[in-house]
């Protein structure tokens, strides 16, 4: 377990997770805030950088592993989740983080999300949701609101957006939260809690695109409109209530934990490990693996 295996010493600080690489992001990009929140969360969790594998796909936000001192894998578009599962299954002792944009996670890579959820590997998935394709300079994304005018929707989008929160809740995710860089303390907290959660955990971050995003999607607007789920008295163990609130995605900006299964089901990596332990004694020695084929 990534959380319980945390050593007491040494104590890490946020700066220990910061690499020398300078982010390519535009000044004021929401992703800077997400990066800071991840530094803080990792410091709080206390695993050394070399025991962390941070996987991403393609997009502005997918550059994020490179800005940390962890092992990173900036892979191909939409495929971070399968790669991360391979890493976790190959070495369950690692802390495995996945991050990317809404296009990476819910458009090109959308098919991997349900299957990752139902397998429940002990990994954390952070989506930086800015409702736009930033790296390719401002096209519609799967979470773009209806009516949004972009370079590929000159006359306004006619498509309904994907609702990432409802999407993952519907497929049975056991930990679902949302944050915004407008509330750094809250964001660091939900990321830390997600990392500590034993099993697949999902954090949707409303991460403003300063260059292509609308005014209502900027930090200033977030600050004015965001509501913590705590302040609404939401019971985060109530999955149906979480789904009710999640339906307001795109209309309200709720922050905090939507759902946290108080009885985490067994993780994929734990089940695999158990199977390895059960069957370990039943192997022929590796060099005699062919003996099973002999016709005696």
């Amino acid at each position: 377990m990534k959380s319980s295996a945390a050593p007491a010493l040494p104590v890490f600080q946020a700066k220990d997770f910061k690499s020398d690489l300078k982010p390519i992001w535009c000044p004021g990009c929401g992703d800077f805030g997400v990066l800071q929140a991840i530094y803080r969360a990792l410091a709080a969790v206390g695993r050394p950088p070399h025991e962390i594998a941070f996987v991403s796909g393609i997009g502005c936000s997918s550059r994020i592993p490179g800005y940390t001192t962890a092992y990173g894998f900036n892979s191909v578009h939409g495929r971070a989740l399968p790669i991360a599962q391979g890493i976790k299954l190959a070495n369950p002792d690692l802390l495995v983080l996945v991050a990317g944009g809404d296009g990476d996670g819910f458009s090109i890579g959308g098919g991997h999300v349900p299957h990752t959820i139902r397998r429940n590997p002990d990994i954390t998935y952070i989506v930086m949701d800015n409702q736009i394709y930033g790296l390719t300079k401002g096209q519609l994304s799967p979470t773009s609101p209806r009516g949004l005018k972009t370079v590929t929707s000159e006359y306004g989008s006619v498509e309904a957006p994907v609702n990432p929160l409802l999407y993952v809740l519907a497929y049975g995710a056991n930990f679902v939260a949302q944050g915004t860089p407008a509330d750094m303390a809250g964001l660091s907290e939900v990321i830390e809690e997600a990392i500590r959660y034993p099993g697949f955990s999902f954090v949707n971050v409303q991460s403003p695109c300063v260059t292509f995003g609308g005014e209502e999607a900027q930090v200033k607007a977030h600050r004015a409109h965001m509501k913590t789920l705590k302040s609404l008295g939401h019971d985060s163990t109530d999955r149906l209530a979480a789904m009710g609130l999640a339906q307001l995605y795109g209309q309200e900006l709720h922050t905090g934990v939507f759902y946290r299964n108080p009885e985490p089901p067994p993780t994929l990596d734990a089940l695999f490990r158990e199977r390895q332990e059960t069957l370990a004694g039943k192997a022929l020695p590796r060099e005699r693996i062919l003996d099973a084929f002999i016709q005696k």
Binding site: P49, Y71, F73, V76, N91, A280, E287
Partner: protein
Amino acid sequence: MDDLVIGMAGSGGDGIVSAGESLIAAAAYEGYSAMMTKSFGSQVRGGESSCRVRLSTTHVFNPGGILDVAVALNWEDFLKFGAELPVSGATVVIYDSKTGVEPAAIPLAGVAPKEVFAVPIGDLAKQATGTDKAKNTVVLGLIAGWFGIGRQGILRGLEKRFAKKGLALVQANEKAFILGEQFAKEHPLASPRAMDRPMGVPGKKMLVDGNDMCAAAAIFGGCQFFGGYPITPSTEVMQFFTREVWKYGGSALQAEDEIAGIGAALGASFAGKKAMTATSGPGMALKTEMMGLASIAELPLVILDVQRGGPSTGLPTKPEQSDLFMAAFSAHGDVLRPILAPTSVADTFDVTVEAFNIAERYQTPVIILSDQEVAQRKETVDLIDTSRFTIEERRRPTDAELTDYARFRLTEDGVSPISHPGMKGGNYQGAGIEHNEHANPTASGKVHAAMNEKRFRKLAPLRLRRDLFHIEGNKNAKLALVAWGSVAGICREVFTRAKGEGLDVKLLVPWLLYPVADEVYRDFFASVRAGFVVELSHQGQLYRILRMFTDVPAGVVSLARSGANPFQPDEILAQLRNAAVSLQQPDVSVPSEE
């Protein structure tokens, strides 16, 4: 007799394949060399099914051509297999008399076999067991009776197979076998064809198909992770892994799609474990992007492509050798991926272990290009001494190298020490984006050129690996055969027979298809004036690739045709004879332009 080719066909419920399985298991147990291929219609259940079993007292190179024995439980299904079950005038034809066809009127065009037996197969089965389900057991009795093979082994096999279902069923099937055997004894062949005793010792042969062999070899070679998606004809590899790999401390993931399958395998490799995926043509197309990532991120990975007929869905259950271009060239950017091809179930072991070794040594994806026949046929394999294999591991950084670690350091041989998560000081960013020595992203043309050069340079030694080629015959021979994959087995037989009849021929069978070992071919072709590159594809893809990368004499031509049209040794032999005659013609030189 020292060699016998049996072909059988019936409808799905007739148990033809299980009769074949019983026969080959019995033959293997008794020490014969044997090979079995199965063929089905595309129906999931029912429909037509067939199998071929070839037995030899010495060695079987291929499933054989013309049948010595043809068994038809009904003619409609038998005829659907056409060229897969070819009959000649010398074939012994056995069919169920219930079909109502007169022996003189069997529906085989162009032949009038001398020995045709209409046997009440269904009735004998009913007599023995009360139902006609045991038709396949009656067939086994007929074969044992007429060709003298496998009696003990088959009876032993029946006992094993039906033991769980009770003694009564075992005895009923034994009776069905004996009725078949008796029928054969009461109706002897005009020219007896009993098999000689095998050279092998009982109980000393493996019986295995190519897919199981590949998976077992992978685990032997240290593979700790499999990620894949079901696809014919490679699925058995995943089935083996999901059953066995846990016992060796590894994991297997049946992923949601082909991309996730290779993605998980690549992730496992990034995490420091040997990993593989398996697929067929359509899956290879989907995995292409991830293979590119493996190349640029310099991660070891083994990809098995069991080729079937294409393009698209093509012929999912039939062999073809038409994925070579895709394996070599389907990539954006400049990419060199080693490709190895097994030619038999036996050498699938060597090739798979080698694939992992190359992947680990050079930190590269390696493609094993098998085909439906090699992968799904069952073959007797002599015991393999696993101690003669070396298992390689990727080069990890030393403590000194970790003090100023550069994941993609430009070393002399192009191989940079590779760390993995969990290794302190080895932290780096793996990436699909071009990177400098310290793994930081770059758009510099200079760095890109240096990295491309490194990624090609590290694989250059492969072109000198003469041990990945099998060359037989007189060094100065004027005639040549080149064949790969399952077709190599046909050409091995052709080569032996050609030499036997005095043709001056040599044979080259590559395990390494790509990169093209230009010098190996140049040396081989130096004496050659005529020959054939024999392949089961419309284009003749290896021939084309050889023409790209090495000098091929003008007299060496492509002998290629689409999949599911197996080559017959006789036809290739005839081509060689003609080629030999044409070399004896006085040289008619073309007047030069000058």
